[in-house]
């Protein structure tokens, strides 16, 4: 319990610094937000009044405090382009992002264990070499390009899957199952793209973890006791090698989330990432800042969960 509290307390300054960085980005943004709301015909006096309303006449420190208070109330400002509230724009896109990222995360975890175990246990075999080469490829191919190639091949050439989007708009009134199937069809390619990029790091770690553990004394002892190789692998080695994967997963969250944002953009997946990337092109700083804040908060929470899960599974952590 003490460990968990300590972890949570450590996350708080993290979040505060994060908000400061987000605020700084807003402040450094070129062009005056007040000017973006209006056309040139508005009088100078009105501009000053508007700046006053927006709080731009106060010192930067005070502006930050006011801004932070608003954020805590869920008021993150308004989009320069659509004038919609940033909070609403992001939360309405959160489900699509969570659907994609959580399912890709689950797929990554499910597939990394068998790949890593078999590759590690049969070190030097054909399977191991294949996994090694494939995971290196996964690390090296630009994911956005891979996504484009998938679209080119599966959607444009073979016409098997939709090129982009979330759901066929003609299905709004269809039954839940048909809708789910259609969303799944749209999700397949982005999911595959994220999977290939994300699987590599974890599988490499898992494989070397298994290799290291198989050389430990307690495994030798288990062998000496005559336990079957499968039993040793799955009962003894697997559990210990699986532990560090949780930490690695937590550490690779920023990369995974940042990467899946670009993928969302490529596949026009209506999530937070697509919103953020489009905001970059539109120079829509409030939305951009909101996306950075939200995704960072997601990452910090993910890391926190990883830490807690780790301590829960491995009691040794709490003592150290």
């Amino acid at each position: 319990m003490k460990y968990i509290v300590k972890r949570v307390l450590l996350a708080i300054p993290l979040i505060i610094v994060m908000t400061f960085i987000a605020f700084l980005i807003m402040k450094l943004a070129p062009g005056d937000p007040a000017n973006m709301y209006m056309d040139p015909s508005v009088s100078a006096q009105d501009v000053i009044q508007l700046k006053k309303n927006l709080g731009f006449d106060k010192p930067v420190g005070i502006q930050y405090v006011i801004w932070l208070k608003n954020i805590l109330k869920g008021n993150m400002g308004y989009s320069y382009i659509t004038s919609k509230s940033v909070f609403a724009s992001i939360t309405e896109r959160l489900p699509a992002t969570l659907l994609l990222s959580v399912s890709s995360m689950l797929l990554i975890i499910i597939s990394t264990f068998p790949l890593g175990i078999i590759a590690g246990a049969k070190k030097g075999s054909f399977f191991d070499n294949a996994v090694t080469v494939l995971s290196f490829l996964g690390l090296s191919i630009p994911t956005f390009w891979l996504g484009l190639m998938f679209i080119l091949f599966f959607s444009l050439k073979l016409d098997l899957l939709p090129t982009a989007g979330f759901m066929n708009p003609s299905l709004t009134n269809a039954s839940f199952l048909i809708k789910a199937f259609d969303i799944g069809k749209h999700m397949l390619l982005p999911l595959l793209t994220i999977l290939i990029g994300g699987l590599a790091v974890l599988t490499r770690y898992h494989r070397s973890g298994i290799i290291n553990i198989l050389e430990m004394d307690y495994i030798k002892a288990a062998r000496a006791r005559g336990l079957s190789e499968t039993r040793i692998l799955f009962k003894h080695a697997f559990k210990n090698a699986a532990l560090p994967i949780i930490t690695i997963l937590g550490l690779s969250l920023p990369g995974l989330i940042g990467g899946s944002f670009i993928i969302e953009y490529i596949f026009s997946w209506p999530g937070m990432g697509q919103l953020g990337v489009s905001a970059i092109f539109a120079r829509d700083y409030p939305i951009l800042m909101g996306t950075i804040l939200f995704s960072s908060a997601l990452i910090i929470m993910g890391n926190l969960l990883a830490d807690i899960a780790y301590a829960w599974i491995d009691p040794r952590i709490k003592k150290s």
């Binding site: 610094v17 690390l139 630009p142 990369g255 670009i262 120079r283 890391n303």
Partner: protein, 274 residues
């Protein structure tokens, strides 16, 4: 590390990288071919790969192979310079944190934590739109956002070494702190730094390609692997070769760097090589 013991992946990677580097240096030096020059026979429409243009031409009739070679200069330079910045800042910050310890260390490491929790690509994109997109900004932004791993590595190495007897002995002999640091402590961290720079260079090349693909990196008409991809987007169906060649080249280059890094990791670490 004898040549015979090196794996085929190492030889292939080293060979491939050497080929790219030599081509990128030599071709522009000894030929007057212009990467922005167009073939009057192919203008207006991308031409498919042929004997005249092995990788085809783009929509303006420019030879893709030639642009890839010129793009290699840009992409490799971006990789090298940004890794240089990454290592310099990483060593600097990691040394201060590990060497001074105490609250300085605590403060720096919390800062590193924050940095590591932000999706770097978003930070880079944001900074790129605040600045003007240029090759220098691309290199600086990538370098200044990727040093956290190196700084942790250097700090950990220093923490584990600074209390060892041979360091205490060095102080006892009256050697200055800076000299102990450079002569005795940093060399111990050298191997992981070399590995990190190989991997970092791959990441930098990937990041450059994303940036340029989104139009926030190297600006046309200069060729970079990333902006060739951006350019290919409107011709995906009719001229897929425009998108395939740069992507394959990026993948193979980064793959080689990763293989080299991995090989050096196991080769430089006696515990893993047995």
């Amino acid at each position: 590390m004898k040549l015979a013991k090196m794996s085929w992946s190492f030889k292939l990677s080293a060979g491939f990288l050497a080929l790219i580097i030599i081509l990128a240096i030599i071709i522009p030096m000894f030929s007057n071919l212009d990467p922005n020059g167009f073939d009057p026979n192919c203008i207006g429409e991308p031409a498919a790969p042929s004997i005249r243009h092995i990788f085809g031409t783009d929509d303006l009739g420019r030879d893709i192979l030639l642009r890839l070679i010129y793009g290699a200069r840009v992409s490799l330079t971006v990789g090298l310079v940004s890794v240089g910045i990454m290592i310099f800042v990483g060593i600097f910050v990691g040394t201060i944190a590990g060497y001074l310890g105490g609250w300085v260390d605590e403060l720096i490491m919390r800062f590193v934590d924050v940095f590591m929790a932000i999706p770097t690509i978003f930070l880079i994109l944001t900074i790129q739109i605040l600045l003007k997109p240029s090759i220098y900004n691309v290199m600086f932004v990538i370098g200044l956002t990727s040093w956290t791993g190196v700084s942790r590595l250097v700090r950990a190495e220093i923490l584990s070494i600074k209390e060892r007897p041979f360091i205490t002995a060095a102080y006892a002999r009256g050697i200055s702190h800076l000299r102990v640091l450079i002569k005795h402590i940093l060399p111990h961290a050298l191997n992981p730094i070399i590995v990190a720079s190989m991997l970092g260079m791959g990441t930098a090349i990937l990041t450059e390609s994303v940036l340029s693909y989104l139009g926030l990196g190297i600006q046309p008409p200069h060729a970079s692997w990333g902006n060739m991809l951006e350019n290919s987007l409107s011709f995906m169906i009719d001229a897929p070769w425009m998108a395939i060649a740069p992507g394959v080249l990026i993948s193979l280059t980064v793959l080689s760097l990763n293989f080299l890094g991995d090989f050096l990791r196991s080769g430089l670490n006696p515990r893993e090589s047995k």
